[in-house]
């Protein structure tokens, strides 16, 4: 490592040691060492998370909350403790501001379905960015159809950054909510959310962040961000699938009606009506994903142990390394990454290679990347992108793996240009 690299990533970040925490990274794919670069879709899980899930199922398995017996008590404590871990991880004021849901998609549906339905009227504006994942577009389109709210989209500049001048025009006194993806799953761009928040505050609008891509890679402080809502998925941040969370300010959660209703979210039920359970249970109807929730708590412990500042510094160093190589690759078109802050998420095309073929052939060489529209069709259309390949790195990826990606891309490109 060079001296400057050592400054960028503290020597204490030992990526080889981190890799040993993830058993799956030792496996082969098609006879090659696995190079897993589809982290923006889902990360791998460290053994500590797998162990926590297994322990919850083999040692403390029971339904939570009303059980008097020992197993029920242990499961309840473990599941509540997981909320507290997440709350500390994002610096929420109270763990009661953290609602466990299936994933960021469900969290965003909760905001639209509970807060939106109760608070929006025909003609009210919801301002989103054109960079949103479909999960922060479709729930609002459903509300548009149901309530007649107006949807507006903040465009991107040709270099793939949010157009803040346009944002200033689009956010008006009729705007009730501004929603933005914190980091783009296509371009890797980390959006200037402070500027959007200030604009939202100036017109009295609520401010929502989709943190599915940002939270796995950087320190997040919801109080510093001063967002009203923050959504994230566990499986992109070393946790299990089927668990994610919505953070929302307590006052909002208190005044919002429930989203899903039924068991566990009530205080009392009579034939005439019901009253709601305390936070966050008011929003967690039915038996929860208990083991997965405990697994999410373990994932947050794992990430905190590494230190998110160090993770970010390491990934930024890796990003610089990959970026230089991609830019030097003949016939490769990279989207974004020209200026501004980015995660190590790269969408690109190689001349003459359809992304599906590229992903298919890379897989033959052990490299897992994604191809397609990445659930962000409006952004793809806005930037004139068709389908792309996407390589997304995480805290266990290495420069050697980046080299292997470039080698494999060379093989694919030569095949399509020269034939065998």
């Amino acid at each position: 490592m060079t001296e400057s690299a050592l400054r960028a990533a503290p020597a204490a970040y030992d990526v080889q040691r981190v890799r040993r925490d993830f058993p799956i990274l030792a496996r082969k794919v098609n006879g090659r060492d696995l190079v897993y670069l589809d982290n923006a879709a889902s990360s791998q899980r460290p053994k500590a998370v797998v162990d926590a899930v297994v322990e919850s199922m083999t040692v403390s398995n029971a339904n939570i909350h009303r059980a008097i017996h020992t197993l029920g008590y242990e499961a309840t404590v473990g599941y509540e403790e997981a909320h507290k871990k997440v709350a500390r991880f994002i610096n929420a004021r109270s763990w009661r501001e953290v609602v466990f849901v299936r994933n960021a998609t469900e969290a965003l549906n909760l905001v639209a379905g509970a807060w939106g339905l109760a608070n929006l009227r025909a003609g009210d504006e919801v301002v989103l960015t054109i960079m949103e994942h479909h999960s922060n577009i479709v729930p609002w389109q459903m509300l548009r159809a149901r309530l007649g709210v107006t949807l507006k989209f903040i465009p991107v500049t040709p270099s793939g950054l949010l157009d803040l001048d346009a944002a200033a025009r689009l956010i008006t006194p009729r705007t009730r909510l501004v929603g933005a993806v914190h980091a783009s799953n296509v371009l890797g761009a980390v959006n200037p959310v402070g500027a959007l928040r200030d604009r939202a505050r100036a017109v009295g609008a609520k401010f929502l962040l989709d943190g599915a891509q940002s939270l796995p890679h950087m320190p997040v402080d919801v109080r510093a961000l001063d967002c009203d809502f923050f959504a994230a998925s566990g499986h992109k941040m070393c946790g299990p699938t089927g668990i994610g969370f919505l953070y929302a300010k307590k006052e909002l959660l208190e005044e919002m009606p429930p989203f899903l209703t039924g068991g566990d979210m009530i205080a009392t039920v009579t034939p005439e009506g019901s009253t709601w359970n305390e936070l966050p249970w008011k929003f967690e109807a039915g038996t929860a994903a208990i083991a997965e929730g405990i697994g999410l708590g373990a994932a947050v412990d794992y990430l905190s142990g590494l230190g998110m500042e160090r993770v970010l510094a390491y990934e930024e160093e890796l990003r610089g390394y990959v970026l230089e190589k991609l830019l030097a690759f003949p016939g490769l078109t990279l989207y974004g990454h020209r200026k501004g802050e980015h995660l190590a998420v790269f969408s690109f095309n190689v001349d003459g290679v359809h992304p599906h073929d590229g992903a298919n052939l890379l897989d033959r060489l052990g490299v897992a990347v994604r191809s397609g529209h990445h659930c962000a069709q409006p952004l793809m259309a806005a930037l004139g992108m068709d389908n792309t390949l996407r390589a997304s790195f995480y805290l266990y990826n290495t420069k050697e793996e980046a080299d292997h990606l470039l080698y494999a891309l060379g093989e694919v490109s030569r095949l399509f240009v020269h034939g065998r």
Binding site: D357, N360, F416
Partner: protein, 143 residues
């Protein structure tokens, strides 16, 4: 165009078939538009953005001319090239008899479950064009 000296790591399976597919991909047979067609049908695969149109002319119950157009991956494009070769000059009813298995056999390289839609897009478009949409969701679509 093929550089015989070039050996790719990617071709550890069936290099001859891969060459054939690459040839179909770079120089597709029956590619283009067809004026005055008796049957024209177009469909896409939204998950990958691929688009395919097939147009054909018949005379006395025989497929006299057939063209395909569109964009897509090597699998979907070469499959269309191969399929149109297969049915050109054949009785129109030949279209009904082509099964998923026959299509995959003609493509000649192993097609994984993730690429099955690419491999069968041309056959789907052709069958739906000739017999209507209902002709497709049968045995061929039981993936």
């Amino acid at each position: 165009m093929t550089d015989p000296a070039f050996k790719s790591d990617l071709l550890d399976v069936d290099p001859l078939m891969m060459d054939l597919l690459l040839d179909h991909y770079k120089h597709p047979h029956n590619f283009g538009e067809l004026a005055g067609a008796d049957v024209v049908h177009e469909e896409g695969n939204p998950s990958c953005g691929d688009q395919m149109k097939i147009a054909l002319k018949t005379k006395g119950g025989v497929i006299e001319e057939i063209k395909f157009s569109g964009k897509g991956c090597i699998i979907s494009q070469s499959a269309a090239s191969i399929l149109t070769d297969l049915v050109k000059g054949a009785p129109l009813d030949r279209v009904r008899t082509i099964t998923k298995e026959e299509m995959l056999e003609n493509i000649g390289i192993p097609i994984g479950p993730m690429r099955l839609k690419c491999a069968l897009l041309a056959l789907k478009v052709l069958k739906a064009g000739v017999y209507g949409q209902a002709a497709w969701p049968g045995e061929e679509d039981d993936e």
